[in-house]
Amino acid sequence: MSGTKFFHAEESSRLGLRWALGLLLLFPYLIWLAEVREWNWPPVHEWMPYVVYASFQALLSAGLACVAGFLMFQGLQSWHRRGWAEAALLFPNIIPPLFLVMALFAVVTPWAAFPYGLSAVIVAHVILNSGLVAVALDRLLQAKLGGMTETAWLLGVRPWVFWRRVAWPQLRGDLACIFLFVFSLCFTSFSIPLLLSGERSVTLEVAIFDIIRTEGRWDKAVLLAAFQSTALLVLAWLLPRPFWPQRSSRASLRLLEQPSLSVLVLLPAALLVTGWGLGVGASLAEGIEPFVRENLPSALLLSAALGLSVGVLHLILFLAVAYVLPHNRLDRFLNGYLAPSPAITGFGLLLLPVNGVIADFIKLVLALTLISFPLLYRWIVHSALASLQNQIVIARSLGASWSAILFKVVWPQAGASCLRACGLAAVWACGDFALSGLLLGENVSVPMLMNDLLGNYRFEQAALLLIPLVLLSLAVYFFFVRAARYVVG
């Protein structure tokens, strides 16, 4: 093929890929638009209580997570081993929600009946998100006020004066952004409220799930989902600044340290590890039941297949995005696009008239990917790709083809971030029970077995399954972070 023809073919394939990516991400909405025939907007009294209650829950969860995160941030400044401290803070965020719920059960149930309901959901959300707030604050201060914090320290400024006179006037928009980000996480949370909220739905996601399952009102569910997406889009447009700046050179934030709070940094991770220890300890004493022993090998196999497939699909999508970027409109779409609700995605794919074991598995892989891809792109991959824009322009001006740019410029530098994101997607897929339950129906994966055991009050048996599930999650994560790098180059 001559040079000109090759470049034309490349441009056409990039255009096609951009459209394909956009349509794939919008796929769940498109199915609903095509399949739901009658649309009836439910009366306000039918949906408003859900919105009010979900907002109340999210406000409390986000507010408390921000307060706890602020305290942890001050404790974090006393840590010399920063990498470890940050990993401990982010640990609750990167594990599947089921792991967190298991730990809470293990810590609480020996002493009291588990307090299902709003308070349990809020506590879980605070444990889940406070470390994220602490690390986000650290990155924000480092990136925007690192030098000023050092200067203020040298000038003898007291910490609260610095917060009030220097940090607050300059960062209030970013702080609001962090709060709203956590708010949106708590507002759209699915697995945790599904397990912990008891009788009353505390998020719209769970309400949507219940409405379809118990009332069969698909139109009402979609309209609630549309309301939720619109609300989140409005939030995103109100505060479009990225709250997660790249780590720049490390300035000293010791002015803001509070050594007495340093132990808080370990609290969420310690709670989780203690919970698992307690749960597994109790279950080992009891031994494995035949039901669990019989189902475990096939469940492990399916969970592994699910994790690896979701990770590979993420990898393909990240490669596709890296190939078609830079492109302003697609970049804006990917950064502004909110993943559809898990219930909408799951039920949407159920509407597809293709069924069977393989088809259901593929639907599940697709559903899990459509839900985690937008978040992982924004959280991990976008900044890695954005930092290479100038290099791409230079390579292009030197006459390099897009595929050469992808494999010789972009991938060697952004590949590690992409694979880390794939590893996380795989871990989340391994730990999924909610969408798996919806699309596969039976107890065929390890988390589904655990969920079933929890539902039957056989906590010890469920806790026992944590061991293989944690090992499996670690294996798939390191597969992507280490092994896949050699495969992809």
């Binding site: 030098g147 000023m148 050092e150 200067t151 203020a152 320290w153 040298l154 000038l155 003898g156 400024v157 007291r158 004066v161 006179r165 220097v166 006037p169 300059q170 300035a251 000293s252 010791r254």
Partner: protein
């Protein structure tokens, strides 16, 4: 004289080692060296932004290295200046005075004197974010010296200025330092800075003083 001892730091295959260094307690001492020589590390360890466990820095009968950073009473002008952009030039300078709990009258008197010495009167009420490079540099110097620090540190203070402004800035800074007689450590790699300002020159190469 102030005496620095046991300054040792190892990172990424680079070793900085200054067993003993006498810094004059008057005039301007310039620490110069090529990029990667370790100048910034020396600067950050002396002002306390980086830890150096065995470091001793004896000055006027005290070991400054043992004092908490705010109590060392050092004046610092960073290369990036680090003005608070939402405050005016005047607020930036008075913020430092307030942090050291100077009385309002004294702060005002010192501000006026500095404004005259550094020719800042015309832009004191302007936000730091809109100051030119030369103006911002003077404000940073005024903020560093309004509290009469024990020791003044200047980290590549003229590197962001163009050639014309640089010679004027050097003269202004030198005049202020001579007027108040601050012992000063100037970190630079610019030979012209050395010629125009330094009373003593110390050269650093590969982590060692020559």
């Amino acid at each position: 004289m102030s005496l620095v001892e046991n300054m040792v730091r190892q990172y990424d295959g680079f070793r900085l080692e200054i067993p003993r260094w006498e810094i004059p307690d008057q005039g301007i001492t310039a620490l110069c060296g090529p990029s990667g020589a370790g100048k910034t590390t020396v600067f950050r360890m002396l002002i306390g932004l980086e830890d150096c466990p065995g470091l001793k820095w004896s000055f006027q009968g005290e070991d400054l290295a043992q004092l908490p950073v705010p109590e060392r009473r050092l004046g610092v002008v960073f290369q990036s200046l680090e003005l608070f952009p939402h405050m005016t030039a005047e607020e930036n300078i008075l913020f430092a005075a307030e942090a050291r709990r100077l009385s309002q009258d004294e702060s005002r008197d010192r501000l006026q004197a500095l404004a005259q010495d550094l020719r800042m009167s015309s832009y004191l009420k302007r936000k730091a974010a809109v100051l030119s490079g030369g103006e911002a540099q003077r404000v940073a110097l005024a903020r560093a010296v309004i509290t009469r620090p024990l020791f003044l540190f200047l980290d590549e203070p003229f590197s962001s200025l163009d050639a014309e402004l640089r010679s004027e800035a050097r003269a202004l800074v030198k005049r202020v330092i001579e007027k108040f007689q601050f012992p000063t450590l100037l970190i630079t790699h610019d030979e012209e800075d050395l010629q125009a300002m330094a009373n003593t020159v110390v050269r650093l190469k590969d982590g060692r003083l020559l």
